[in-house]
Symmetry: C2
Amino acid sequence: MVSERGLDVLRAIVQDYVASREPVGSKTIVDRYSFGVSAATIRNDMAALEEDGLIAAPHTSSGRIPTDKGYRMFVDHLAEVRALTTAQRLAIRTFLEEGADLDDVLARTVRMLAQLTNQVALVQIPVVPRSYVRHVELVLLSPTRLLVVLITDAGRVDQRVVELPHADQEQHAVDDAVLAEVRTRVNARLVGRLIADVAPELDALAEELPPARRVVVERIAAALAATVDDRRQDRLLLAGTANLARTERDFPGSILPVLETIEEQVVLMRLFREMELDDRGVSVSIGRENPLVGLAETSILAGGYRSSAGEVARIGVLGPTRMDYSGNIAAVRAVARYLSKLLGEE
Amino acid sequence: MVSERGLDVLRAIVQDYVASREPVGSKTIVDRYSFGVSAATIRNDMAALEEDGLIAAPHTSSGRIPTDKGYRMFVDHLAEVRALTTAQRLAIRTFLEEGADLDDVLARTVRMLAQLTNQVALVQIPVVPRSYVRHVELVLLSPTRLLVVLITDAGRVDQRVVELPHADQEQHAVDDAVLAEVRTRVNARLVGRLIADVAPELDALAEELPPARRVVVERIAAALAATVDDRRQDRLLLAGTANLARTERDFPGSILPVLETIEEQVVLMRLFREMELDDRGVSVSIGRENPLVGLAETSILAGGYRSSAGEVARIGVLGPTRMDYSGNIAAVRAVARYLSKLLGEE
DNA sequence: ACTGGCACTCACTCGTCGTGACTGCCAATT
DNA sequence: AATTGGCAGTCACGACGAGTGAGTGCCAGT
């Protein structure tokens, strides 16, 4: 059974190990922390901690290091979230306020979070599920290529290139006049609609038109439908990969599997999205708790922020299990808050 | 003086070292390549090569490895560019043809090139210097935030968020009616213009308006000007960072400086852009030839491709100096060609 | 110009050994 | 019952040294 003091010992072990990357022994603890008991007593406590699987010894005769379970206990019950320094707060504020548009703000954010935590930073680009069509623009790139641009009221702009049928079938030739007409009709039909309704509306429109126009509208419909689908699966911004190399010694094997997993953004995204935030607004996934084998030696912190349209997107960091959880949780939380504030309409 | 055969020896050394990562000695060469001379003769040639700084010995008594200068000689005079396997060609073709819009095609390209070469792949997103305004769309995100979207005929879409003056100054309040008017006027003024002329035109327009509208137009003008500036400095797509870790042993120190340099996309971009293509359509920068210190142990291959609007953008790979130059040059060239063909209007 | 032979160099491997930082356990103490 | 000092035991780690072998440079002979 782990005593009250035993948990204090665990906290000391985690802190010391995170700071020094050296297995910590009983003597180190009595020297560095004032427990007011002897080394032998600490040893008893450590035996109990090992019994419970919270710490482990790399070799028979060396100090202990926290296990994943030990870190978990530390994060859940022992870590007090440090407040950021005022310098850090200032950095966040000045850094973010210069941003121009959403993409730019998020790009800055992810870089800043990486720098703040010295880890790999992740920011999910938010999706806007229920937004309305603001405008559809058509641009003829060449006789057979058409650019379709969709603007929605939430401020997202999406684009897609459509191949038109070859002009040798005279009836299908598309020129600026035709395009202008189609543009007017399409906009009349779509503006103000939910993006989910775009495809059916266009299909209906195609019905009304003579075959010559119909083909064009059908292609546009397909392009817009594909665009709407695309936005469902959201993207991820990444920064600070170099920090992985910096903490390389924390990955017994190599950082290769970590880098590989990170590049596979789809999988990482899913994992990231499915982490459930606790009451502190942060979620922590430690080492092998993590379903991705490549990340068996990393921990992921995830926080949530609200974009202007109100939905929650994720922001977080990824690094070796031996990381400064207190500091990083604080950083993620602070950045998430600033971001929500910045993006929220006041 | 390096003899004719000496250069053949250099070629053998490069090929062998690239294949095995082991310093190669005279015996290895006579065993593995049929020079028809004895090891002692090879040794004499190697001494000459070393004299000329083309190869070096890591220790007094070990085989030789190519120096940067040796690789340079190899690339310029000794490497025959291997044709790709048909499997590789097929992969390129099928991989690229699925692409939807420009961004998507480039994203696929960079991933494919990374996989093809087992190196870090780079693709420059092309800029379109002389294009015309097709449409400007304004979307009110909140009473004080306005989204400005610029569509040009080359198929690029750019967006930017503008902060409007606070509405408590009654005269500046912006509602949909005002916005509609401004939108009409702005478009009337800008459509068909060169993007370079956007700013002066808008300034002229602002003059004509009553102060209430003027502020809005001025902000829009500033946003568009900034957007136009932004496009000048182009972006870079990256893929295959994990390959760096895979070739980690080729970086005596650590891959840290390499990763750091790569993350600093601006610098990397400039370097990449300034490499001048030779008559083979590829440029190679080897080791310390490279101005960025972080890349002193890497080589960069750059090729060019033509985007639809006709300008040349860059595509390339980055990896350890000990890389398969023949294969990688072939890959870069092949992908660049396919990409040009795919993007070019036929 | 090429070759065989030979002395020499030096990184690398492998065992041994000593050292020191730990632990676990136990009997004594509070 | 908790704590403590003491002590034997374990084991990673670094240093040392000898043996090994790949590879070189040089030279005299063809």
